[in-house]
């Protein structure tokens, strides 16, 4: 625009040059400001707007991952997580009519007073109810009360209940293992939820994956060695034996001889892991897996190991004669008694009739180291390594510290402590040809090799002696099973209370069957039977017989004896034993 053309159209008042330049500069400066601002927003401080923008089209989505299941060896679930809702409120934001509150209380099974108390709590978060089934949570959501919300969570169910609870354990808040296998295998079982970023459309549906922020990690399933049918059987028989004998506690372990798998591990007292009120501190005593976490003095069930040590050392042969008369033996001021007075016995009969004096005499012919090596070789004094938390190793003192009386009492299982799983495992020595099998709570693919401890001939000789125990003339005719040959040993141990042996007993029986080709080992322990009977042969052996008989039948193990093989002695002529 030149002055000439402007002048041609209309005479315009001339603009003072200074003013024109001022306007031009101002406009330029404003444009520069805009450019700078846009540069600032686009390049320098772009986070806020980017976030605002992306929040309108994308979203972070949680990818759920659940905890793995625990299964038994047949695939029966022992623990499953299933999604539930946790209902919570922000008390000051809750605005509901009394009718709505009543409906809410009904839906989540909370009395009006309890509900009111929670809604008057301070803070901005209070759980109204956890572990609510999704259908009920939907009913609560339908009430549409402001300030009441729900969250997804998982709840774990244990179909096995009290039969399985001590082995499986349970999970606490956030589905994290707290007891038992749930605790020990937390890393394997636990799932980790992932998160990813997606683009959403106006209906809120994800239309495109942008990126995976964190890949979810699903919990893995865990297969235990337990057989739920055998577990139930063991639990049922144990419970009824404890009731009949008015005992304090007890345990039953079933081992597979070929693999060392624990097929059943039952304890009493027990608890139901589905019931939260069973999980508090007061119930700790019932939660303990006694067969692994508690030790006891095994008593006579240890005699076969003493005899095995003597056989291995070549000190005696099964037919060697030992004089146990007059049924007592005094060593350094202490006297050992036999419950049943016998005269001259063979080594085989010492086991069959469970003579303490005989076992002590045989033990004293051995150097302490030989006995110690035998006991340690059988796995005593070392944890059984089943993979269970809190298992104990029991007590086996070094051979150097043994005095002769201690060596003599150890020969029949006093002055040494074991847990029930260790005891069952030690009998793999006799059930196989002298191998100690590793024990496990987890399923194995096939037979597992053990560590050779005994010469095969020794193992066979002891197996024969253990078979004599259940025949008339032995301590446990009640352990016999129709159709199967059985081998085993009783134990009746005085309990040690405050350093002295009290008139309380631990009755036990450990045995295996079929004796011609052993498949299962069953160990039974009954703590403080107080209904009159306390001998291992009359308290624990019947439990062994019913558990083993039913287990062999369930597993389809062919019988190795005619069905009329059970020979019971004449009433009153049973051989008794103490320790």
């Amino acid at each position: 625009m030149t002055t000439a053309s402007a002048a041609r159209r209309a005479p315009a008042p001339a603009l003072p040059p200074l003013r024109a330049r001022f306007v031009f500069a101002t406009l330029l400066a404003l444009f520069a400001l805009l450019a700078a601002r846009s540069l600032y927003l686009q390049r320098i401080d772009n986070g806020f707007l980017q976030e605002q923008g992306s929040s309108r089209y994308s979203r972070n989505v949680e990818v759920p991952a659940h905890r793995g299941r625990i299964l038994d060896r047949l695939g029966t679930p022992l623990a499953i997580s299933t999604p539930v809702k946790a209902i919570w409120a922000w008390p000051e934001k809750v605005d509901a009519t009394p009718a709505q509150l009543r409906q809410l209380g009904n839906a989540i099974d909370l009395s009006p007073q309890a509900l009111a108390a929670r809604l008057h709590a301070s803070g901005d978060f209070v759980y109204l109810k956890k572990g609510v089934p999704p259908e009920i949570a939907a009913r609560v959501a339908a009430l549409g009360i402001p300030g009441v919300h729900d969250d997804d969570e998982y709840r774990r169910y244990y179909p096995g209940g009290e039969v399985m609870s001590q082995v499986v354990g349970f999970t606490g808040d956030g589905d994290v293992g707290q007891e038992g296998i749930e605790l020990a295998q937390q890393v394997w079982l636990g799932g980790r939820p992932g998160s990813r970023r997606v683009i959403i459309n106006r209906r809120g549906e994800a239309v495109e994956d942008v990126e995976s922020i964190r890949a979810p990690q699903e919990g893995r399933d865990l297969v235990l060695a337990l057989d739920s049918r055998l577990q139930y059987l063991a639990f049922r028989e144990l419970k009824s034996a404890i009731e009949t004998n008015k005992a304090k506690a007890g345990g039953v372990v079933i081992l597979d001889v070929r693999t060392g798998e624990i097929l059943a591990l039952a304890n009493w007292p027990s608890y139901n892991s589905n019931n939260p009120s069973n999980r508090n501190r007061g119930a700790r005593d019932r939660m303990r897996n006694r067969a692994l976490t508690d030790t006891f003095e095994p008593g006579s069930t240890l005699k076969p190991f003493t005899i095995a040590a003597a056989l291995e050392a070549g000190k005696v042969r099964p037919g060697t004669v030992v004089d146990t008369a007059p049924g007592t033996l005094t060593i350094g001021g202490a006297t050992i008694h036999d419950a049943h007075r016998e005269g001259v016995l063979t080594v085989e009969q010492v086991v069959q009739k469970s003579s303490n004096v005989g076992a002590a005499k045989i033990a004293l012919s051995l150097p302490p180291e030989a006995m110690w090596t035998m006991f340690a070789g059988a796995g005593f004094g070392a944890p059984p390594r089943t993979g269970f938390p809190g298992e104990v190793s029991g007590r086996l003192r070094p051979a150097k510290s043994w005095r002769p009386i201690e060596q003599a009492t150890m020969a029949y299982g006093h002055g040494i402590s074991v847990n029930l799983v260790q005891l069952a495992r030690a009998y793999t020595l006799f059930a196989t040809d002298g191998e100690l099998k590793p024990v496990t709570l987890f399923k194995e693919a096939g037979p597992v090799a053990g560590r050779p401890v005994l010469k095969p001939e020794t193992a066979r000789a002891i197996r024969h002696m253990l078979e004599m125990v259940v025949l008339p003339g032995g301590t446990a005719p009640k352990a016999q099973i129709p159709g199967y040959r059985v081998a085993g040993k009783t134990g009746t141990a005085h309990k040690l209370e405050g350093g002295v042996y009290a008139n309380k007993y631990v009755s036990s029986f450990v045995g295996f069957a079929p004796a011609s080709n052993p498949r299962l080992i069953v160990a039974v322990m009954i703590d403080e039977p107080s209904a009159g009977q306390y001998y291992g042969g009359s308290v624990a052996a019947p439990v062994f017989s019913s558990v083993m008989g039913a287990a062999l039948r369930l597993l389809g193990v062919p019988p190795d004896a005619p069905v009329n093989n059970v020979v019971l002695p004449v009433e009153g002529s049973e051989v008794r034993e103490e320790t």
């Binding site: 759920p64 997580s81 039969v163 495109e208």
Partner: protein, 89 residues
């Protein structure tokens, strides 16, 4: 020259439109995939619940009780059992 340009323009337009449609298709398929995956997850949950239910109904304790009380079944005494040697030879 003009003809070539027009042809190229048409090509560009076709490309652009097909990009838009394929993108749209992809999103629709993704929505569908997402829905199916949610469904699968739902079925998974249901499967777990059914397993739970099955094992609750099938606990050995319950089976035994029904067998004994309702069906009046019992374990035959050993004297009434005949073992058939079915071992493969």
């Amino acid at each position: 020259m003009v003809r070539l340009n027009l042809a190229l323009l048409a090509l560009v337009v076709i490309c652009a439109v097909s990009l838009v449609t394929s993108r749209h298709q992809a999103r629709k398929l993704f929505v569908e995939l997402e829905r199916e995956q949610n469904l699968a997850r739902g079925y998974d949950v249901e499967y777990g619940q059914l397993q739970l239910e099955q094992s609750t109904w099938g606990t050995p304790a319950r089976v035994e009780r029904i067998a004994r009380e309702q069906l009046r079944m019992q374990i035959p005494p050993a004297s009434r059992v005949q073992i058939v040697d079915g071992a493969p030879r």
